[in-house]
């Protein structure tokens, strides 16, 4: 199954890249942007047919390597 996970910085962590992107969007005329937060997206193809098990495997990966839980949150957004 293919599992998609998104990793984002926690709210209280400064995201300077998001800030710069926000400023640039503003300069390009995209007004009314409240905030931009940048994150990471992973698509992981695991050798597992049970969606619950596949989700568990990728959650384990997120906890151990893909995310640093001091500063980041992760979310499994799709399993197919």
């Amino acid at each position: 199954m293919k599992v998609s996970a998104v990793i984002t910085l926690k709210k209280e962590v400064l995201d300077p890249q998001g800030k710069v992107i926000h400023q640039t969007l503003d300069g390009m005329g995209f007004k009314g942007v409240n905030e931009v937060r940048q994150g990471k997206y992973f698509e992981i193809d695991v050798n597992e047919n049970d969606p619950k098990k596949a989700q568990k495997i990728v959650e384990d990966m997120c906890n151990k390597l893909l995310a640093n839980l001091v500063i980041e949150n992760y979310k499994i957004i799709e399993i197919q």
């Binding site: 209280e12 962590v13 400064l14 300077p16 890249q17 710069v20 390597l65 893909l66 640093n68 001091v70 500063i71």
Partner: protein, 227 residues
């Protein structure tokens, strides 16, 4: 005194550290990241560089290298482990010291000399040094030390801050903070003070013809403390 410097794919300060350690009396061995066992050592150093191309997060891949299990066991049994720059990033990613190193606040790679103030000399690294303010070199893109408020309280309660960025008079104000680190923190210990992670490079300050000798003072003192 024996030391070991670990070389990861992408390390680039391993040789400088090797030369510095040998210059001040250590018998240093360079150890490949894929080895499983550390040679008998009094000090293990994780050097600066860009291990694994800084992929995912700086230090994250290196922290899972084969040798790191031995380094973690060595640290947990009280062995001295020092991580400089990328080595500091590897230490936080392996959980040996608390917190994390984020992208520099102003998104620029910083390469310059800075002053740092030693906060706590009750440890094998700084004990017996006869001054507090040192001039070291920094060169990093991700040196912005961050930790949660709970972690910060614990760090401060246990005197785990090793060094702060400051000016030449030792003032640790925000304007002397090069990268946005929480409270100007440039280096940190584990609770037991046998593991030290810091962004500045003492190994780049061991020769007057380069940029200074404050690193020499640090290494000379370190080997005397370990003897």
């Amino acid at each position: 005194m024996k030391s070991a410097v670990i070389t990861f794919p992408g390390s680039n300060c391993d040789r400088d550290m090797h030369i510095a350690l040998n210059k001040f009396g250590f018998k240093n061995k360079i150890v490949w990241h894929n080895d499983n066992e550390l040679p008998k050592s009094d000090l293990v150093v994780l050097p600066g560089g860009f291990s694994y191309g800084d992929y995912l997060r700086c230090g994250s891949m290196a922290s899972k290298s084969a040798i790191m299990q031995s380094v973690i066991n060595f640290a947990k049994s009280g062995g001295l482990v020092m991580g400089i720059c990328n080595g500091f990033q590897i230490l936080v990613e392996s959980g040996l010291v608390p917190g994390v190193l984020l992208r520099n606040k102003y998104l620029e790679f910083i390469c310059k000399n800075v002053f740092v103030k030693i906060d706590n000399k009750d440890n094998p690294y700084f004990k017996n040094l006869d001054k507090e303010i040192f001039e070291f070199h920094i060169a990093h893109n991700e040196g912005n030390y961050f930790c949660t408020n709970d972690q910060l309280k614990e760090i401060e309660d246990n005197n785990q801050v090793a060094i702060y960025y400051c000016n030449k008079n030792g003032k640790t104000e925000e304007k002397f903070n090069p990268n946005g680190s929480v409270k100007n923190i440039a280096g940190i210990f584990n609770k037991e003070k046998n593991v030290l992670g810091m962004m500045p490079h003492p190994e780049r300050m061991i020769d007057q013809s380069l940029s200074g000798e404050d690193g020499s003072l640090f290494f000379k003192n370190l080997i005397n403390n370990i003897k």
